[in-house]
Structure formats: structure tokens, C-alpha cells
């Protein structure tokens, strides 16, 4: 509760403060008048004051005043009503003497507080009545107003613009003589500029101005906005104005009556005269290259803003949706290029409709240009319209400013991108290349090496090529020796094989005689296998009937011999493990083994020969 009170108090206070802050109290009067001229000074305040005190008008005579007027206006914006009150106090003054006069501020009390207006400075020039001409020139048939009395002045809002910046050129007629008519005779060509005419229709407004102590009537006759298209020094050519001038007539022929009224046509002569304005030289600066964003397309101006909106975000395939991008600001909007959007590739986008709302005002070209894109999604799914960045150069701040539109997501009903499923749907396209650019630099570590060093052909390379050969040769020689050694051993064993077999058989014979069956069979086995191993150079460990057969075959031992050998082996095995009496077969097997070894030995020996 307490808090609410506190907040309301703060709100009320701030509202009061805000309203108090909004009070405007201004004094306005013409800046230049001439002696004897009557003019108004107005004090305007936007609230009802309880008290108003006018200053002393030193140097002026108050002819009338104060006259008070008030106006009230009401405005309703978004349901909020704002009320504006305007009260003005007007005095009519007359200048009494030449010089520069300062009118002090007026003061007023509003809601118990005292406010002061601004002070006003008024230059009072000499009387407008033309000075009497000392030397009359009766012989002069076609007198002209002198350059001092009549001139056309061209002024530029800035002489050092940036390229593309808006420069407002104003042409004014400054005169001390009457002009009844004027027409612009020759317009400058404005080469190297884009031109926009800002001249407001209707009669030109006139005002008084004191220049070098002389009082002139000033009328603005033309106003243009120029946008420099290149940088460097560019000269704006003069404007030529054709005028009908009312010159004061011959004094002698004027009656006193005419002189008194000054402006009487009877005492004046009308002369046609052409006056040239001054030329201007603009020193156009190029736009800075540094920090120029890539998206910059050349727009220069102030207060640019970009808005974008889509007409719908949820739709069906083949429905149209409108994207409106609007760019507003002060600058050369007619030169604005269409935004460079990266539309999704399967979204059909038509060229935009361009709608302009560009006004040429007194202060320059301003307004907005909008681009309407009609987009038709041809398939379902989600389409993302990426943000568009508008970059412009603000010459008042001398920097580039970016404005970004939001990203839009269109949700389209249905399956995404199934080409060919719908009749009439667009055919499948190749991947559309939006632009080609180089790939990014290599940022990882770089293995630098000396220029001219190539591994191929280097000393290291040659070493690496020839060393395997050397190794290979060494290996071959070593292995050869090794084989030779081994084969010698085998040769030895081959030669000794028969002897060894006989020795073993002798042993077996002893076992036979002693009738020791197991030992006998063991010995016969060992004899047969051992003989084979030695003879055929097969290690005992891998000996079996199959390898023996293979070895016999490769040695080209006849089939029956190898069979008889295998038979002997089989018989020995059978006899050994057969039940019943074994001793009767022992002699037979002994004979068989002996026989087999002898025949094989004979056969192999024959082969060698």
C-alpha cells in the first residue's frame, strides 16, 4: 500500500515536472527594420499565465498593445488527449533611430513559477526612401539599377559537402529598388550534380535585411537541392534573372505630391534588366573508405530508417505473400537502389513494386521509398527471409550507419520440397550460386620451409631410395649364406639317414629277440619317421601321412613305393594296438620296414644319378 502511494506520488511529481518543463515562452520580431517602420513584436506562451510583464522597449515607440489572443487545440492520439493552449501578446512598435537594439525578455508567472522569454535583437537601418541622386543624368536613355541596388545572390548550405550529400542552394533577389516582375532567364546546367527543385510554388516571400549598413528587400526566388556525383572542386554556374525594375524617376519632374508618396507610378520609369548571380565553388569531399561496410550502396543523408513487414507468416503453398521494405530519411531517395535480399531459393520472388512518397521541402528532399515484393512459396516448409542491412553515410556525423530489418519466418503448410509430387510444381533446380567469392584464408599453423627445398631429389631422398637397396642386398647375401649352411646340414642328415635307420633297426632286432613288444614297436616307428624326416628334409613336428605323401610326390617317388611305406606305417600301428598276441607279427613288420627303407633308399639314389 505504502509503495503504491510512493509510486503515485513519484508519478504525479514527474508529470508535474514534465508539464512544467514543456512550457515554451518565446518572443519574436523581425530582425531587420528601417527607421520609421512599424512592426509587431509577439510574445507567445503555451500555458495560461497568471501574470505577464512586458519589457521596456528602449529605442522604440509603442504604438499599440498589448493585444492578447489565445488559441486552444486538442489532439487525440491513441486515445490519449493532449491539449495545447497558445496565448500571445502583441505590441506594435515603431523604430525611432538607427542602430542595434536589444529588447529584454518578458516575464510571466505560470502556476506560481516565473518564466522568462528570449531576448530579441533588432537591427534598425536607415529609412527605405531612396537617397536623392546628386547628379541627375538626363542624357541617359536607358538607365539601369546599379549592382549595389539590385543583385541576385546564391548561397549554399555548405561549401564542403561529401559526395552525394544534399546541398541546398538558395537564389535571392536583393534590391533597393522596386521590381514589378521577374523571370529566370537561364538555369545553370548543374553538371556533375543530381538536382531536385525545392522552390515552393506561389509568390516569393520578402523580408528586410541590412547588408553593409544598407537596407535591402530580399526575396527568395529559387531553391534547389544538389547531390554531387563526384568528388573534387565543382563550380555551380550563375543563375540569370530577367527583371522589370521600377527606377525612381527624374526628381525635377516630380511634383511635391509625387515625392511625398514615393511609390507613385507617375514619377517612375520601368526598365528591363538581366542580373547574374554569383557562382559558387563547392569542394566536394569523397566518402571515407575506412570502415565502409560492404553493404553500403552509396546513400548519403540523415535520419534514415528502414522498416519491413510481411502480410502473412502462415500460409499455404502457392499463396502470395507481400514483403514491404520501406526506407525513409533525408537524402537523395530517388537514387535509392532496391534492397539486396538473399531470398530462399525455392521461394519465387517477383521484382519489387516501387512506391515513392518523396517531398521536396524547403529544407531538402525528404520522404520514403517502399519496395513491395510479391513472394510465392512453391513448396511447404519453413522459409526464412534473412534480415536486410541498409547502410547510409551520415555527413553530419561523418560516419556510416547501418539499419537492419528483422528476420521473417514464413510457415507454409505441407511437406517441404518434394519436387514432382504435385502437378505443375516447379522442376528441381540446380543449386543456385548466389555469388562466387574466394574461400577464407588458411588460419592454422603453416609449415614454412626454405625456398627451393624440395624433398624429391634432395640428399635425404637419395639416401632413402638407395638405403633399402643396400639393406636388401645385405639381407639377400646373409640369407643365402644361412641357407647354404642349412642345406649342408640337411645333406649330411640325408646321407646319414640310412645308417641311422639301420642302427635303429638293429636296436629293434634286439627288442624283437627279447620279445619286448612295446619297445620294439616304438623303435620301428621312430626308425620310419626319423628316416623320412632326414631324407625328405621335413621337420618331425609336421610329419603325418599326408605331408609324407605330398613330399613323396614332389620327390617323384613312384606311387607303389609311397603306398608301401604308408602301408608299413599302418601295419605297425595296427599291430601295436591290436588286441591278442603280437609277437608273431613282430618279425614280419621288422622285415617290411627294412624292405621299405632299402627300396626307397635305392630309388632316391637312382634319381640322384
Amino acid at each position: 500500500m505504502r509503495r503504491i502511494i510512493l509510486i503515485s506520488v513519484i508519478l504525479l511529481l514527474s508529470a508535474a515536472w514534465a508539464s512544467a518543463n514543456d512550457i515554451e515562452f518565446t518572443a519574436s520580431a523581425p530582425a531587420n527594420v528601417s527607421v520609421g517602420e512599424r512592426f509587431r513584436i509577439t510574445f507567445q506562451v503555451n500555458a495560461q499565465p497568471s501574470d505577464f510583464t512586458a519589457p521596456d522597449f528602449d529605442g522604440f515607440r509603442v504604438l499599440s498593445g498589448p493585444s492578447q489572443s489565445s488559441s486552444t487545440s486538442m489532439q487525440i492520439i491513441n486515445g490519449q488527449m493532449t491539449r495545447t493552449v497558445s496565448i500571445s501578446y502583441t505590441y506594435v512598435l515603431e523604430a525611432t533611430g538607427e542602430g542595434r537594439f536589444n529588447i529584454e525578455p518578458a516575464s510571466a508567472t505560470i502556476e506560481g513559477q516565473s518564466y522568462r522569454s528570449n531576448s530579441v535583437t533588432i537591427n534598425v537601418g536607415a529609412a527605405t526612401t531612396p537617397p536623392p541622386s546628386a547628379a541627375p543624368a538626363p542624357a541617359q536613355q536607358d538607365p539601369q539599377a546599379s549592382a549595389q541596388d539590385l543583385l541576385v545572390r546564391a548561397t549554399a548550405s555548405t561549401l564542403n559537402p561529401y559526395q552525394g550529400e544534399q546541398v541546398i542552394i538558395t537564389y535571392e533577389i536583393l534590391t533597393r529598388v522596386g521590381i514589378s516582375q521577374y523571370s529566370i532567364d537561364k538555369l545553370p546546367s548543374y553538371r556533375d550534380f543530381w538536382t531536385e527543385n525545392l522552390t515552393q510554388p506561389g509568390q516569393p516571400q520578402t523580408r528586410n535585411q541590412v547588408i553593409n549598413g544598407e537596407n535591402y528587400r530580399v526575396a527568395e526566388i529559387r531553391r534547389v537541392a544538389l547531390f554531387a556525383q563526384r568528388s573534387g572542386e565543382i563550380v555551380v554556374e550563375p543563375l540569370e534573372v530577367d527583371m522589370v525594375v521600377n527606377l525612381p524617376g527624374d526628381r525635377r519632374r516630380q511634383s511635391l505630391f509625387d515625392e511625398f508618396f514615393g511609390g507613385s507610378p507617375f514619377g517612375q520609369r520601368t526598365v528591363r534588366q538581366t542580373v547574374k548571380s554569383n557562382s559558387l565553388t563547392l569542394n566536394v569531399k569523397p566518402l571515407p573508405v575506412q570502415n565502409r561496410p560492404a553493404a553500403f550502396t552509396g546513400m548519403v543523408g540523415t535520419d534514415f530508417d528502414v522498416s519491413a513487414n510481411v502480410s502473412a507468416t502462415e500460409l499455404n503453398p502457392n499463396d502470395g505473400v507481400n514483403l514491404r521494405v520501406s526506407i525513409s530519411g533525408n537524402g537523395n531517395l530517388r537514387m535509392l537502389e532496391q534492397p539486396n535480399f538473399n531470398f530462399p531459393a525455392n521461394l519465387e520472388v517477383f521484382d519489387p513494386n516501387i512506391a515513392d512518397n518523396i517531398r521536396n521541402t524547403v529544407s531538402g528532399v525528404t520522404g520514403s521509398r517502399s519496395f513491395d515484393y510479391l513472394m510465392i512459396p512453391r513448396t511447404g516448409g519453413e522459409f526464412v527471409i534473412p534480415p536486410f542491412t541498409f547502410v547510409y553515410f551520415d555527413p553530419t556525423r561523418s560516419r556510416y550507419i547501418s539499419r537492419v530489418t528483422p528476420e521473417f519466418v514464413l510457415q507454409v503448410e505441407g511437406e517441404s520440397a518434394q519436387p514432382g509430387t504435385q502437378p505443375g510444381s516447379i522442376s528441381q533446380e540446380d543449386i543456385r550460386l548466389l555469388s562466387t567469392d574466394i574461400r577464407f584464408i588458411h588460419t592454422g599453423p603453416i609449415n614454412l620451409f626454405n625456398k627451393g627445398t624440395v624433398f624429391y631429389g634432395s640428399r635425404l631422398f637419395l639416401i632413402l631410395v638407395f638405403s633399402p637397396f643396400a639393406l636388401f642386398m645385405f639381407f639377400v647375401i646373409y640369407w643365402r649364406n644361412q641357407i647354404k649352411l642349412q642345406s649342408n646340414q640337411q645333406l649330411l642328415r640325408n646321407k646319414k639317414a640310412e645308417k641311422l635307420a639301420r642302427k635303429r633297426l638293429k636296436k629293434a632286432k634286439i627288442f624283437l629277440n627279447k620279445k619286448q613288444e612295446n619297445e620294439f614297436y616304438d623303435e620301428i616307428f621312430r626308425t620310419l619317421w626319423g628316416y623320412l624326416s632326414d631324407k625328405l628334409s621335413i621337420p618331425v613336428s609336421i610329419l603325418n601321412k599326408e605331408t609324407v605323401e605330398g613330399a613323396f610326390k614332389s620327390q617323384k617317388v613312384p606311387q607303389e613305393l609311397s603306398e608301401s611305406f604308408i602301408n608299413t606305417l599302418n601295419d605297425t600301428e595296427f599291430a601295436r594296438f591290436a588286441p591278442g598276441k603280437k609277437d608273431d607279427r613282430m618279425a614280419e613288420i621288422y622285415e617290411k620296414a627294412l624292405q621299405t627303407i632299402v627300396t626307397i633308399e635305392k630309388d632316391l639314389r637312382n634319381k640322384k644319378k
Binding site: 562466387t436 620451409f449 625456398k451 624440395v454 624429391y456 631429389g457 633399402p468
Partner: protein, 250 residues
Amino acid sequence: MRKLIVFTLIILSFSAFSQNPEDLIREANEAYNRSEYSHAIELYEQVLALDLVAPELYYNLGNAYFKNNRIGRAVLNFERASRLDPSNENIIHNLNVARSRLIDRVETRPLLFYERCWRDTYMLQSATGWGITAVIILFIFLSVTSVYLFSRTKGIKKTAFYTGILLLLLTVLSFIFAQKQYNRLTAQNEAIIMNPRVSAKSSPSQQSPDLFLVHEGTKVLIRSTLGEWIEIGLTDGNVGWVRKEALEVI
């Protein structure tokens, strides 16, 4: 301890004297990132001035030149990078992009199928790459040969024999490819036009008539040299003389 201090001092004095090339490259990459391409170019060129090269260095330099709109220099550096690392996809891509921005489009005879195969194969690796491959395959070949020579088992022997023949073939090819790439790398017969436009003359003198115009970035073959003049040949068969300073050898 004293030794250490002296050593450190020496190192420090060195680094003060000349900047470390790795630092230069890092600084250049950062400059590139900030779009200060001229500065990046300057730094990359400083590394090259130390007689140090790398395909990535040429590649980055080419990128910087490209971004600075000096397409001729960009093409030159991409070509140099491509010579050192012919199979790098990024280099090939950027070289093609840079070439697409050139003014001249010189017609080249399309390669026949087998020519393209042969070219694509030897372009797979640089001279160094093929050299290493050759050494490795040679080693394997000799190993397999030893197996063949000393194996007793028939199957192994047979396999080793055929593998050996295949490896021998591969070894020979690797050597041929390495030599081919080495020739490409060391050959001084290709150049890139550096001037925006150069008119090729019919003979090596300023007075002789102009034959054709070549623009910046076009690759030409150097046929002969005579004093300040170089006889160039285009891939479409045109031949003419240009001044030496108008081009730079890759």
C-alpha cells in the same frame, strides 16, 4: 644459470632484430580479418622476403591481393600455391574464382579422357608427396621381393610374386609422377601478366606492330628471352613479344 641468461639474451636480441615469421603470419591473418588487406599483403610479403615459403602462405597472400582487387597478383600467388600443393581444394577453388574475374578468356583445348586421368592422378600430390610415396612403396616392394626369394611355401611365393610386380609398377609410376611435379615446380616457363593491358608485338622492338592484347592475370608460356623482351605463347596458340616487366614468372 649464467649460460641460460646469455642464451635468453641472444634469443631476445634476435627477436628484436627480426620478427618471427610465425608472428608475422599471425599478424597478417589478423589484419586480413579486419579487412586491412594492404597491411596483410605487406606482412605476408615480409615473410616471403625471408626466403620462406609454404603453399598456405601463397594462398593467404593471394586472398589478400584478391580482396584488394589486384587480380593479377592474386592469380600469381594462387598459381604458386598450387604448384606446392596441387591437390588442395581451397587453392584450386580460389584460383578458379580469381581466373573467372580476369578479362581474357583464353580458350584451352579440352583434355581427352585418358589425358585427364593421367593429369588428375599426378596432380594428386606434390613432388615431395610423390617422393615420399615412391620411397615407401620402394621399401615395401623390396620387402615383398625378399619374401618371394626366401619363402618355401608355394602360396606365399605366388602371392609375393604378383604383389611384387604390382608394387614395382607403382614404384616406377611414383618416381615418374615425382619427376613430373618436380619439373613443374622448378620450370621457369610459365608467367602471369602483371600490367593491366599489354600489347604483344610481332618482334622484340617497340616499333614492331601489335599482334594482340593481353590483360592482367593471364597465364602465358615463356618461349624465349631476348634482352628486355620475352616471347610469350598463349594456350590458344598465339605468340608475341612483350617487355620483361609486364609479367612475372610463376
